[in-house]
C-alpha cells in the first residue's frame, strides 16, 4: 500500500514536471492573459485525462475503480511542491455538488465539460451585506407564474436579481453555482435554492475587484433580471442549503496539503533569516533571539502538521468529528499568519536581504497580505472558534 502510493507519487511528479503550468504566486489563479488561460485549461484537462483528477468520481462519469482517497492527498502535495497551478476548488466543489445533487441530464451535460477543461466554475454565494452569515443572503430568484413556490420546480422559471461578491475566478468562469432566495417567507436557511448557471446569460455583469495584494482574484457579480429555467436548479427548490453545506465539506481531503505548504513556508523563513543582514553585517539567523523565535515557530508548524495528518487519516477512514475541519483550518491559517508576521519582523530588522534571499522576501511580502485571505474566507477564524466551542467543547452558542 505504501509502495503503491510511492509509485503513484512518482507518476504524479513526472507528470507535473512534464505538463505543469507554473503558479505566479500563492493564491493567484486568474490567468494573466489568453495564452495562460489556454495553458491552464489544457493542464486541467490533462490531469483529468491522466486520471489524476476526477478519479474519485463514479466510474460512469470517468472515475476509476482503483481510486484511493490517499491519491488526492498525494496529488495535491505534489502540485504544491511543484509550484504549479492547482485545480480550482470551485470546479471541484461544483463536480461534487453535481454528482451528489444533479439530475442525470445535468450530470451528462456538465461533468464531461469539467473533465475537458471546457468549464471553469465560480461560486456566487457571498453578498455585500453577507459575510460569514451566509444564511442571510438577499439575492432573490423570483419563481414565475402559477406553479411558483410549489417546490416541484417543473416548468417553473425564475428571475434573479441581486448582487454577489468575492466570487473567485468569476471573470473567466464559464459556469457559476448560484445561491438565491426563492422563498423569503420561511426561516433563513429554508428558502434558499442552488442553481447552476452559464456565466454569459443576459443580465449578468462581472467586475473584478483589485485586492490589496495587487492581484484581482475576486469579482463582484451583478444579476439584473437574469432568467433561469427549471433545468438550472440544482437539487430541490428551497433545498439549496443542503447543497452548499455538502459542497463546503468536499474539499476536506485536500486539507492535508496545507501541511506541506506550511513546511515550505517555514523553510522560507529560515532562508529569509539566513539572507537578512543586520546593521552590523551579521545574518539574522546567527543570533539567539532569531533562533528562539524560529524554534517556537517550528514547534507550532509541527503541531499543525500533526493535526492535519491526524485529520486526514480520519477522513480517509471516513470517521471525522464535526470539529476536525474547523480545528485544522484554524490551526493552519493562524499559524500561517504568525509565520508571516515573524517574517515581517525579520525583514524590518534588517538593512538588506542577500541576493539569494530576494525572491524569498518577495514571496513573504505577498504571503503576508495573502495570509489574511485564508483567515477570512471559507469561514473566518472567529466562526471557526465558535464551531470548535460548540462542536468540540460542547459550549452553548455565543
Amino acid at each position: 500500500m505504501r509502495t503503491d502510493l510511492e509509485e503513484y507519487r512518482a507518476r504524479v511528479r513526472a507528470f507535473i514536471a512534464e505538463h505543469g503550468v507554473p503558479m505566479r504566486g500563492e493564491g493567484v489563479r486568474v490567468p494573466a492573459d489568453a495564452d495562460e488561460e489556454r495553458a491552464i485549461r489544457r493542464w486541467l484537462r490533462a490531469l483529468y485525462e491522466a486520471g489524476f483528477l476526477g478519479a474519485g468520481w463514479p466510474v460512469q462519469w470517468g472515475g476509476r475503480a482503483d481510486h484511493l482517497p490517499q491519491h488526492d492527498l498525494v496529488l495535491m502535495e505534489e502540485l504544491i511542491r511543484g509550484d504549479v497551478y492547482r485545480p480550482l476548488d470551485q470546479v471541484m466543489l461544483a463536480s461534487h455538488a453535481i454528482i451528489e445533487f444533479g439530475s442525470d441530464e445535468q450530470k451528462a451535460q456538465l461533468l464531461p465539460r469539467i473533465r475537458g477543461g471546457e468549464h471553469v466554475w465560480c461560486q456566487l454565494f457571498s453578498e455585500p451585506d453577507v459575510g460569514s452569515d451566509l444564511a442571510s443572503l438577499r439575492t432573490r430568484a423570483e419563481p414565475d407564474g402559477a406553479g411558483a413556490g410549489d417546490g416541484d420546480g417543473d416548468g417553473d422559471g425564475f428571475t434573479v436579481t441581486g448582487q454577489k461578491i468575492w466570487s473567485t475566478d468569476a471573470q473567466w468562469a464559464d459556469m457559476g453555482m448560484l445561491l438565491a432566495r426563492t422563498d423569503p417567507s420561511v426561516n433563513r436557511h429554508a428558502g434558499i435554492t442552488a442553481f447552476v448557471i452559464p456565466m454569459d446569460l443576459p443580465g449578468i455583469e462581472i467586475r473584478p475587484i483589485r485586492e490589496m495584494t495587487g492581484y484581482a482574484e475576486f469579482c463582484e457579480v451583478f444579476l439584473d433580471g437574469v432568467r433561469l429555467g427549471p433545468e438550472h436548479v440544482l437539487g430541490e427548490v428551497n433545498g439549496g442549503w443542503k447543497v452548499v453545506t455538502s459542497g463546503l465539506a468536499s474539499e476536506r481531503a485536500f486539507v492535508g496539503a496545507n501541511s506541506l505548504q506550511l513546511e515550505r513556508m517555514f523553510d522560507d523563513l529560515v532562508a529569509l533569516a539566513r539572507a537578512a543582514r543586520l546593521p552590523d553585517g551579521t545574518a539574522a539567523l546567527e543570533h539567539e533571539d532569531t533562533q528562539a523565535t524560529l524554534a517556537e515557530a517550528l514547534a507550532r508548524v509541527e503541531e499543525v502538521k500533526l493535526i492535519v495528518r491526524d485529520t486526514v487519516e480520519r477522513i480517509l477512514i471516513d470517521d471525522e468529528h464535526p470539529s476536525d475541519g474547523p480545528v485544522a483550518k484554524l490551526a493552519y491559517t493562524e499559524t500561517n499568519v504568525a509565520l508571516t508576521e515573524i517574517a515581517m519582523g525579520i525583514i524590518t530588522s534588517s538593512v538588506a536581504i542577500d541576493e539569494a534571499g530576494a525572491a524569498v522576501a518577495d514571496r513573504w511580502y505577498h504571503n503576508f497580505l495573502w495570509g489574511r485571505a485564508l483567515t477570512i474566507s471559507g469561514g473566518a477564524s472567529e466562526i471557526m472558534r465558535g464551531l470548535i466551542g460548540r462542536q468540540l467543547l460542547g459550549l452553548p452558542r455565543a
Binding site: 529560515v270 539566513r274 524554534a295 507550532r300 509541527e302 503541531e303 487519516e313 472567529e382 467543547l393
Partner: protein
Amino acid sequence: MLTPMSRLVRLGSRQGTGVDAVLTTTFASDDIVALRDALRGALGTVWQELPSTVETTWRERWEPLAELGLPGFCVPEARGGFGLRVDAAVTAAMELGAALHPSPFAGLTASAHALAEAAEAAGSSGDPVVGGLLDDIAAGARICAFGRLGPDGRTARLVDGGPDADALLLLDRTRDELLLLAGPGDWSGEPSRHGFDITRTCADVTVTAGRGQRIAAPVHADALYELLLAADAIGGTQRALDHTVAYTGQRQAFGRPIGGFQAVQHRLADHAVRVRGMALLVHEAARQFDAEPRSQEQALAQAQRVRRAVALASLSVSSGAGHILHDLLQLTGAIGFTWEYGLHLYQRRVHQDARLAANPRAAARSLADTEGWTDAH
C-alpha cells in the same frame, strides 16, 4: 498487562464532547487504551473533577501500580519489561500528571531503562547491584530517581523525587556516563528551594564523597526523561482544560453560562487547538523512539530524529502549557483562585515539569542545533 501492538482503535468515545475528545483524536492501540483505563481506575481519576489535595501515601500504594507494569515500559523484555514501549510510558505519564501523582515517574522510567540497558550490555555476568535494583524497581519495592550531574561532577540540581528515593541515577553528559547511587547514604538532598510544585518532591543533590558507581549511558535515557516530563505536563493541562470547559458551560453570569460568551469560548477553542497540537507532538516523539535501527548509521539518524522530536514536544509544552493554565485560572475567576479548587496544583506542576528539563530554552537551543541554525554565518 500490555499485549503486542494490534489493530488501531480509538481512545474512548470520540463523539463525546469535552477536551477528553481532544486527547482521543490520536490513534492508539488496544493495549494503550486498556492501560489508560486501568490507570484511571487505579488512580481514581474522575476526569472532570480535579484533585484538591495532594496524596502523601503514594509509596504504600505503589506496588499495585508497579504490577500494572509502570516501571517497565522501557525495559527490555529479557529483563522483565515491555521493550521500548515509549507510547505506553507517555500514556502513563499523562495519566499520572492528570492525577497529580507524586511519584518521580519520568525519572524512574528513564532510570529503569538505563539500568536495564546497562545490565543487558553486561550480559549474565552483570553487576548484582544493578540487577537487584532493577528487580526491586519492577516489583515496586524501590524507587530510583533521575537527575543530571552538574559540571562539578558532585552536585545535581533539581532531582525530582530526590528527597525520598531509594536510589539515584545521575547523568554525566560530558562523559556519556551515569553515576548510580544505589543507597540513600550515597547522597544528601537540599529540597528547600523547590517547594513551588507541592505535588512532588524535588531536591538539589550532593553526592557523598567517594560514593557511586559509573555505568555507560544508553542513548535514549535523557530524551526519555525529557519527553515524559512533557507528557506529565500535557496530561495535567488536558484535564484542567476539560474541567474548565465543563465549569464555564455551567457557571452563569449576566443571565447565561459564561462559556457562551465569545471572550471565554474563543479562548477555550484556541487552547483546545493548542493542547491537541501539543499532545500530538508528544505522541509523535514517542513514535520516533519505537523504530528499531538496523545499522550504526540508522541508529545515529534515529537518535537525531528522537532528539528533534523530543525538543519539539518539550518546547511546545513547556512554553505553552503554563500560559494556558494561567488563562484557565482567569476563566474560572475567583473560585479558581482558591486553594481547594486545585487548578493551581496543575499550574505549579507544569512549571516544575518545564524546570526539571531547563525548558523551554534548552529545547529551543537543542532545536537550533539539530536544525543547523547555529552554524549560520
